[in-house]
């Protein structure tokens, strides 16, 4: 017996996981960079 599966369900799930992970990673890396550079500037008395 052949199992019937909708290919698009797997395609969409893959894109949600891949694009979502990339978006979270980009946002996190930018935010952590901004936070660290602000902390350095404060330690150096620039702000």
């Amino acid at each position: 017996m052949r199992e019937v599966m909708d290919a698009w369900t797997f395609v969409i799930a893959s894109y949600v996981v891949g694009v979502g992970a990339a978006a979270v990673m980009i946002a996190w890396s930018l935010l952590s960079m901004k936070r660290a550079e602000k902390r350095r500037d404060e330690a150096q008395g620039k702000r």
């Binding site: 199992e3 599966m5 290919a7 698009w8 797997f10 395609v11 799930a13 893959s14 894109y15 996981v17 891949g18 694009v19 992970a21 990339a22 990673m25 980009i26 890396s29 930018l30 952590s32 960079m33 936070r35 660290a36 550079e37 902390r39 350095r40 404060e42 330690a43 150096q44």
Partner: protein, 243 residues
């Protein structure tokens, strides 16, 4: 190479290169994924599930490239004591681990309709899972060495070099052992893949590679800024303790 050893020079380059890589990468990857989703035709045997290739292959490539970056930076750190090498290795770790995880999840989602199973313990899948665990181990070791010795230990660099032995195992696993996973479709100078899939795949690999480079540069800037802030605060505390 030592011309880039100066953190101030690196920061001058990274300040314009990072947004350029991220911006171009996001645009190219978005267009490539749109091309793969809506313009590429369904494949003769796999139908629409083949569209997962436009995410799965770049993720696999960048998962391995991330560890190659760690290994190259570790070698540079051990041999030339390049001051930015350890920071570059730490910058590669998180994006490398994220792309390895994305490769494993998208591969599993592709395996279910293509092979009828989410997972098999064959050479390719198992060595890729080992790579993810190597990333976790490297990040834990790097964090521990930073906390205990201020990053002045060679253990993560040695681990980074030793772990690189897994990269050729991942690559050749589908040739050395019987595997559910298909053998490489693209090798030097030739491809078994039709141009209708090959071009969006190349575009997607380029886009995600640029995103990877942008994230590595952002991570390096963050780590460098944290180290500079810590050094400054330490100097302040010592000066206050002296008076």
């Amino acid at each position: 190479m030592h011309g880039f050893a100066n953190p101030a020079r690196f920061l001058r380059i990274a300040r314009w290169l990072m947004p350029l890589c991220l911006g171009a990468g996001i645009v190219i990857a978005t267009l490539a994924l749109g091309w793969g989703l809506f313009r590429a035709p369904p494949e003769r045997l796999q139908g629409d599930t083949v569209r997962i290739v436009f995410l799965h292959v770049p993720a696999a490539w960048l998962g391995m490239a991330g560890w190659m970056g760690i290994a190259a930076a570790s070698f540079t750190e051990l041999v030339w004591r390049h001051p930015l090498a350890g920071i570059a290795a730490r910058g590669c770790a998180v994006p490398g681990a994220v792309f390895t995880a994305v490769c494993l999840v998208t591969g599993s989602l592709w395996g279910r309709p293509a092979w009828g199973t989410w997972w098999v313990w064959d050479g390719r899948l198992t060595s890729m899972l080992v790579l993810l665990f190597l990333y976790f181990g490297w990040m834990a070791l790097s964090q521990a060495s930073e906390a205990s010795a201020g990053g002045h230990t060679r253990a993560p660099a040695i681990f980074g070099l030793v772990g690189a032995v897994n990269i050729p195992i991942i690559h050749y696993s589908v040739i050395w052992w019987n595997s559910q996973h298909q053998p490489p479709s693209i090798s030097m100078g030739k491809s078994a893949m039709d141009a209708a899939f090959l071009w969006p795949l190349f575009a997607s690999m380029l886009g995600f590679s640029l995103i990877f480079a942008g994230v590595v540069l952002a991570r390096m800037r963050a780590i460098l800024a944290d180290q500079q802030a810590d050094a400054r605060l330490r100097r302040k505390a010592m000066a206050e303790a002296t008076y």
